[in-house]
């Protein structure tokens, strides 16, 4: 079996390890070769790899943004710490890690410390749900997409808790904006997802990707992609929808009072969410880890090829977000809500209707891919 997925790698490693151990300790072989133990160990290993990979990916994502933003702005971005600034964000993280931890006198203990931690944890939780390559969850989670979106929508709660408990007017306003914004943009996102579900016929992210083996959804569901991307921009709180952190009016928004490790949590979780958002777009609209069938098989048969293609797509999607950040100013609160409620929701409804119509006539406009409706 060719090693193609991360789960395979983890399983291979753990079974190999246990096999070697069983060889060394024959009396315990009955225990060590127990498939349940192998599975358990590989699950743990898988989790550890996932955690580390998502963290490192997030940090690389920050690096990617800084370098790319630099070029958009006619400068170079971080470049002197590590080769081409690769180590810059590790240095930032390490530094924030060892900064003095403090709490404003009037701040609430539980909210002040708990908020960022929960924000971080829930953002990390996403990566347990999102399949990065084939054989990731094997249908064990038939509603994985809904679960992912549920976890994604925890964030405003924790942002608001930490903003409220840091006892600062700017934080409070930022938190309130954040809550209003995220709630407003949940709806179009979910509706856009409905369009995808209509076409794919499943809530399982794995299945959705498999549906896109031959035709990616970005073509037929372009409207849904547009709505979903704009909604995701708002959910990630990136320019032009970064109102909660709007530097010019709200100092640093809801993390005004946070410094050191807790601020690092916020930063990291923000980019974790950005990564998760990009991954969701790739999963739902850009075919996940798959490549069109007319691409030579060499490209897909390499070890871990699925993951590599997936990450390439993810970074490209994120690059578009960076591009938008470099070109567009921030909108105002009321405009933001108006865009959300009065533009995106009708648009997403149209997208749903369109998707339903497409399913009904069993004909998808396809760009260069072989149509195979319903997989």
């Amino acid at each position: 079996m060719a090693v193609t997925t991360l789960w395979d790698v983890a399983y291979f490693l753990s079974s190999g390890l246990l096999g070697v151990l069983a060889h060394i300790l024959p009396p315990l072989a009955w225990l060590l070769t127990n498939p349940n133990l192998v599975w358990l160990l590989s699950a743990l290993l898988f989790g550890a790899i996932l955690l580390g990979a998502s963290m490192i990916n997030t940090i690389m994502l920050i690096w990617f943004e800084r370098k790319m933003l630099g070029r958009f702005m006619d400068r170079r971005g971080a470049m002197h710490v590590g080769y081409a600034g690769l180590l810059q964000n590790f240095a930032d993280g390490l530094k924030l890690f060892r900064k003095n931890t403090f709490k404003p006198r009037e701040a609430d203990d539980l909210g002040f410390y708990g908020g960022p931690t929960a924000y971080m944890v829930t953002s990390l939780l996403m990566f347990g749900v999102l399949p990065i390559s084939s054989g990731w969850s094997d249908g064990a989670l038939p509603l994985s997409m809904l679960l992912a979106l549920v976890i994604f929508s925890f964030a405003p709660l924790f942002i608001f808790i930490s903003a409220w408990s840091s006892n600062n007017k700017y934080s409070l306003m930022g938190g309130m904006r954040s809550a209003a914004q995220m709630i407003a943009y949940e709806v179009p996102i979910l509706l856009a997802v409905v369009a995808v579900v209509l076409v794919a016929g499943t809530f399982d992210l794995n299945q959705i990707v498999l549906e896109q083996q031959n035709y990616w959804f970005w073509g037929p569901l372009f409207l849904a992609l547009l709505v979903f991307s704009i909604g995701m921009l708002a959910e990630m709180e990136r320019i032009p929808f970064d109102l909660p952190e709007a530097e010019a009016e709200l100092v640093e928004g809801w993390n005004t009072e946070y410094g050191g490790m807790l601020f690092a949590f916020f930063m990291l979780a923000d980019y974790l969410r950005a990564l998760a958002g990009s991954i969701l777009i790739v999963l739902l609209f850009l075919g996940g880890w798959t490549l069109p069938t007319y691409v030579p098989a060499v490209a897909t048969s390499l070890p871990l090829a699925g993951i590599i293609w997936f990450m390439v797509k993810t970074y490209l999607v994120f690059g578009v977000f960076v591009w938008i950040r470099a070109a567009l100013p921030r909108v105002r609160t009321d405009q933001l809500l108006r865009i959300g409620w009065m533009r995106l929701i009708p648009l997403s409804l149209v997208a749903v209707v369109l998707a339903a119509a497409l399913v009904l006539v069993k004909c998808l406009p396809v760009f260069g891919c072989v149509p195979s409706m319903g997989g």
């Binding site: 790319m68 070029r71 702005m73 006619d74 400068r75 591009w323 567009l328």
Partner: protein, 260 residues
Amino acid sequence: MAAEIEKKQNPSAESPTGAVLKPLATAARQFARSLIRPSTILYPFERLEDPKFRSEVAVESGRPIGVGEVWDNYRGVHALNVNTCISCNLCAFSCPDLCIEMVTVPGGDPKHPKKCPQIDYGKCSYCGFCSDACPEGCLTMTTKYELSTPNRKDMVYSPQKMFEQFQRKLPMNPIRLERPANEDAILLDAPLCIGCNACARDCPTNCITMLDIPKEAPKPGEKAAKRIWKEPVVNDSDCVRCGTCISVCPKECLFWGTHS
């Protein structure tokens, strides 16, 4: 007029919807342009003082980072040629921030020590008035600007330290000020003068000579020699108009004025 401007500058005013594409295109164009060489000077490695680098990124090159050759008149740290300094005090007098102090340097005679400027760069505002005022051109400004130090005391530059700057032969301000003609001159209120020689002794340019001038006609029966006094005469072409003579005159008989 206003509508005109608006129309001219904002062709998209008619159809604002979808106009986000234009800034996106502009940013993308900039991205493509700066992919090869962004406008960043990699400061510690590339410097605008470097003539070669400067001409490479000059405005003529089409991708301007600097405007090119003219950089040498930047007003940075002073360079002092201690050897030609005449201790005239003019730099200290002309300093608007009073950051120049005249300190004794070796080289003078014990009675009249040689004094050269010592500059406190924590107070200096780099206006260049001192180098404009320097009559001998020994105090000039170089292009050196890196002056960070963890120690406040290091910011006081002694004459020796500025002499080191001079010896490093950094590029110096090429634009020397043409000194316009000035009618001011040192005049003598002759009746008050006691002929003490203080002005001639302290004159940094030695342009004052004490001439024997008969103060008054000898009285009958007196020897003429007793009534002869020495009086300073200023050589205006050599005088740098530093005013040292005025400040040392015990009788305040020298003053500024015009010959006319």
